[in-house]
Amino acid sequence: MGMIKKIARNTLIYFLLILGYVYLYAINIDAVLNPSKEQEVKSKIDFVYQQF
């Protein structure tokens, strides 16, 4: 593979990785685009209600 082609390919990969990470994982794009949709917020901590 030519040098330019390889650089272009890797640039695309890194670009899509950053884009995908930000939109799929870092932010809640669903909530921004569909605000009317009811969102269920959950706590990841499984808290057991105890007496104390």
Partner: protein, 406 residues
């Protein structure tokens, strides 16, 4: 080798980052904003008549409960009680006793882990309705030991409608929003599917912190641009249209608190056979007796007021209550010093609480006891929850404070 990494990986990575920032600035942010513009949001209206004039909501589970809660705050003839696990179904609990005896309008809100931050959020959500409201707060010492509200309780009590209302209410002072946002930021890794209003409040906090380096650059960028304060426009407005209900109380009925209380206390003490801690038998055998038949022992851990989350929440709550000129009072629940042998360790905390309340001219009823000498057996049914005798003392206090009877 290094050259290869530089040319084939570092360089593409840098170009990709540049592309990302440029494309974000040029296209994607526009796309989101436009998308927001084309969807005008309707105000969510919850309407109805006030029906709940006594008893308690463990949690504000549905629109009707929310409506009745807001109505309870707005109705100046009704008292709203905020508390946690001491709230029970006993007929002597204030929201049962006073309504049945003298037709008083009293609603309780909360169950275990309903702590000050959740209460503050509930009050803020009723900002337009809460000027001069009658409210009573039951402060458990355990809240301060738990280091503030936990994320699960927040999810349970900070209702989406309430958060949306707080975000959209511009007359609420920024410092309260920052306070909630700080909590969300602190616990954000513990939440799943964070809502836009939570992100907004977190954004308010982060904006207030921008001068300080508290987050990585990337995180700040993300928060500011994607999910922070930018998208307030898409958070739905919530409105409660209320029709308040007023009961006519029968002409001043005098209740002989002392004799009922005295009787309850004697019954309570007489019924205890298993221990001399003044703890009811059921609770004692269930929680205080270890498998080997010996008694459990527990000490209170000392807390540092200056860093205590719950104490910070308390100070904010007092500020807000003052600001809204509420007819507020505070009940300080004790620990059973027969069981917690070092209950005196919390005395400085209790002093700080009472002196804060005094300096703000807020009435309070302090039942906390640092040792067995100052403790009145029967106030608690176990080690931290009011017994019927305790409730009668509270009822007497509330009756005299809000209805002017002794």
């Amino acid at each position: 080798m290094l050259k290869k990494i530089g040319v084939y990986h570092l360089l593409p990575f840098i170009i990709a980052c540049l592309f990302f920032f440029i494309s974000y600035q040029l296209i994607i942010s526009d796309l989101i904003d436009n998308n927001v513009d084309v969807k005008p949001l309707e105000t969510k209206i919850i309407s109805g008549a006030q029906t709940q004039l006594k008893d308690r909501y463990a949690r504000l589970d549905n629109d009707n409960y929310e409506l009745n809660y807001i109505a309870s705050i707005k109705n100046k003839k009704q008292i709203t009680l905020f508390g946690s696990s001491e709230f029970s179904e006993s007929p002597y609990v204030t929201y049962n006793f006073l309504p049945s005896k003298k037709n008083a309008q009293i609603l309780g809100v909360g169950h275990a882990h309903h702590q000050i931050l959740s209460i503050l959020i509930e009050l803020l959500a009723a900002h337009p309705e809460n000027k001069g409201s009658k409210v009573v707060f039951f402060l458990s010492p355990g809240w301060f030991g738990a280091q503030g509200t936990n994320s699960e309780a927040f999810v349970e009590f900070a209702k989406p409608n309430f958060l949306n209302r707080i975000v959209n209410d511009s007359s609420i002072q920024q410092k309260y929003k920052v306070h909630i946002g700080r909590f969300i930021d602190l616990k954000h890794s513990e939440f799943e599917g964070v809502s836009i209003s939570m992100n907004y409040l977190r954004g308010v906090y982060l904006d207030s912190q921008l001068s300080q380096i508290s987050n990585t650059q990337l995180e700040q960028f993300i928060n500011k641009n994607f999910s922070g304060t930018k998208h307030k426009a898409i958070i739905p407005k919530v409105e409660y249209q209320l029709e308040l209900t007023y009961l006519t109380p029968p002409p001043s009925i005098i209740i002989n608190y002392d004799s009922i209380a005295h009787q309850l206390k004697n019954e309570f003490v007489a019924n205890i056979t298993s221990n001399n801690l003044y703890v009811n038998d059921d609770y004692y055998t269930k929680y205080l007796l270890k498998d080997d038949g010996t008694e459990r022992e527990e000490l209170i851990t000392e807390i540092d007021i200056s860093t205590n989350e719950e104490y910070q929440d308390f100070k904010r709550l007092v500020e807000y209550v003052k600001e809204r000129e509420m007819e507020a009072s505070f009940i300080i629940i004790p620990y059973n010093p027969y069981y917690f042998k070092n209950a005196d360790i919390y005395l400085p905390l209790i002093d700080s609480l009472t002196s804060t309340l005094e300096s703000n001219n807020l009435p309070y009823y302090n039942l906390y006891a640092g040792d067995t000498l100052s403790y009145d057996p029967g106030v608690l049914t176990d080690v931290m929850h009011f017994g019927d005798y305790g409730w009668m003392k509270v009822n007497k206090y509330i009756d005299s404070l809000y209805y002017g009877n002794d």
